[in-house]
């Protein structure tokens, strides 16, 4: 049974002139435990909308999303929030670290919504996680004192500290230079692999996408499998997209 399954998922919104805009059109996707999937697409192709659906943040207009064999529509708002906290880890393009809090406090944040051992040992767990991403010396640093790469490492530690079963990375290298992006992606890939969590990377960069085992392209709301390596070998990324 797949960890996450999208079956004929569509998402549309109503525009001010009462016309409908179809953002996603019949998306089918199965994500297995330990999977590494990349989804590439131009700006406006519906990547973020798909990310929100995968992350249990948004509801599809039609179609089904099944997580752990449980249809999403059967989950109440609170249960879905708790499931998201337990099973999904987010990594954002702009890091979205909480200002005024140290790296350690940022990593502790998801554990505030945990319970039992994870909640009561949150400081120890967060410190261990920061150590895992090589930031044991920067635990007390504020986000504005960290470099972009370090901030994204903190964000990775924050996303992984509750041992999620699915990691969603939205343009994880989008705000980083190429060199730092490489290191961050390598770290994310390795840590996700070690943890056994499924990793879905949404990006417009084919180089980032190439790190995944399965590759998809989102084009005008339609999701289709692609061969990224062939795409990289033949032309510039922009041409391929």
């Amino acid at each position: 049974m797949p960890l996450l399954s999208l079956e004929g998922v569509t998402r549309s919104v109503e525009l001010p002139d009462f016309s409908r805009l179809d953002i996603l059109k019949g998306v089918d996707l199965d994500v297995e435990v330990g999977d590494h999937i990349s989804i590439v697409g131009r700006s406006g192709s519906g990547k973020s909308t798909l990310l929100n659906l995968l992350g249990l943040i948004d509801n599809p207009t039609t179609g089904r999303i099944v997580f752990d064999g449980e249809p999403l529509e059967k989950l109440s708002g609170g249960k879905r929030d708790r499931k998201r906290g337990r099973d999904v880890g987010f990594i954002f393009q702009q890091f979205n670290l909480l200002a005024g809090r140290t790296a350690l406090e940022n990593v502790m944040t998801p554990l505030l919504y945990a319970s039992g051992r994870q909640f009561w040992r949150r400081r120890v767990l967060a410190a261990e996680m920061l150590d895992r991403v090589g930031l044991s010396e920067r635990m007390t640093s504020m986000p504005d004192k960290l470099s972009g790469g370090e901030q994204q490492r903190v964000a990775i530690a924050r996303a992984l500290v509750r041992s999620p079963r699915l990691i969603l990375a939205d343009e994880p290298t989008g705000a980083l230079d190429v060199e730092t992006g490489a290191t961050v992606m390598e770290l994310l890939d390795t840590v996700a692999e070690q943890s056994g969590a499924a990793l879905i990377t949404i990006t417009h960069d084919p180089n980032v996408a190439a790190l995944a085992r399965r590759h998809y392209r989102l084009d005008n709301g339609v999701l289709s499998a692609i061969d990224v390596r062939r795409m990289l070998a033949t032309s510039l990324p922009e041409a391929a997209l």
Partner: protein, 468 residues
Amino acid sequence: MRWFRKKNRASGDAATPEAATPEAAAPEAAAREVATPIDPPATDVVARPASDLAKPKREPRGSLLSSLVGSVVEAWDEVRINRTRVLLSLIGIGVAVCALATVVGAGAVFGQSQTEEYEKQSARPATIMAYPPFSPTTNEQADSAQFFELMDTLVERYQVSHSTSIRRGSASVQLADGTQFTAVLAIDVKYGVMHRLDVAEGRWLTEADEQRLAPSVVINDELYEKLGRPDLRTHPTIELSADTVTTAVVVGVLAPVPYSSGLSISVLEAPYRALVGSTAANEAEASFELWVPEEQSSQLVEILDRDMRAQYGDDVQSNVNRSDYLAWGGPNPLEPLQWVIGGIAGLILLLGALGLVNISLVTVKYRVREIGVRRAFGATAGRVFFAVMMESVVATIAAGVIGVAISIAIIQNPAVQNLIAPSVQDLPPYPLEAALIALAASAAVGVLAGLMPALVAVKVKVIDAIRY
């Protein structure tokens, strides 16, 4: 640049392009992150077997407690991190709570002062006053000496701890400018406590004064003034003329009163009889007072009346009544004052709350992204609501505690106490009710001020907040 092709190179290469990148602002940090090796999993934080990941995780027990503690921790962190903003926004609340606690506390002191004033004018609640019964058949009032004997028996029977006989007579006192009439109050020792008599100089009468050959007297301030305010340590005397001429020793002076009451002296019953003679003493206006618990007063009035009739016959007109100010009827005389003070305090707090609501609403607008991130990491709508609300409550309670502490310092200050109630005898301790009311009010203000921002926070759309 193809970073993915370089990732297997030696780390020494990696530092080269840093200066040309945005990371140039933090070259050391950038070099550190490129060079940092990826450690193997050190704990169970990340490295869970894939078989475990295939199984849904179960929420451990005690999630309610961790949710509650988590919300408070979150709220406190927010208050701590934004302490300058919080401090500024809470100055108004702190001042309002301090004002509330101070007016309630000052009200208690002032109220005590008013109560004491009433008790001085009448007597302490509940005081029962009895007069010798009047017989319509003989058209005479019962003999006061016998009446006092009966009352002493009843006091013993009903175990009344405080009672006094009272005779009101007069005598002449020899002063430097001639002889003047003075009121003479013949009473028992406990009269002083029952009527809250405030002795400004010397002391009140004691049991030992019964035995003194020269009667001890306590005089009022007007008479003391006439005597030229002699030092009581010199045992000043006055000459009283009634049936006989008696030299009395002034042992105490009552505190001055704001109104003129004429000259008066207080003396114990036995010396009074010696001064004016038994016949004159018996003819003086007599009454008897008993200070009893309020809840027993009405029952005791009935019992005393019954006992009086049993002694003197059913046809006598017995006169046993409560005489303290609370028996005057009508509303509590302090009630209007309490309402005014409460109203002012409430208004102050309302103004403080409005300021806090204003600041909280603006703050939430700036925290949309943070709230979105929290929601993404599993914070439920209820949790966000509670956390934002708690921020407000935690902050206002902290302000409340500080406000109450300042209020205690103000109310317990001797200069302030002297200003509010200069003549108060039993200065009340800082009223617990003032602290509790102020803290409850600060918590309530926190809830009210946090309600609107919390509702706004709950309505934050996670998607929009993260993209914001």
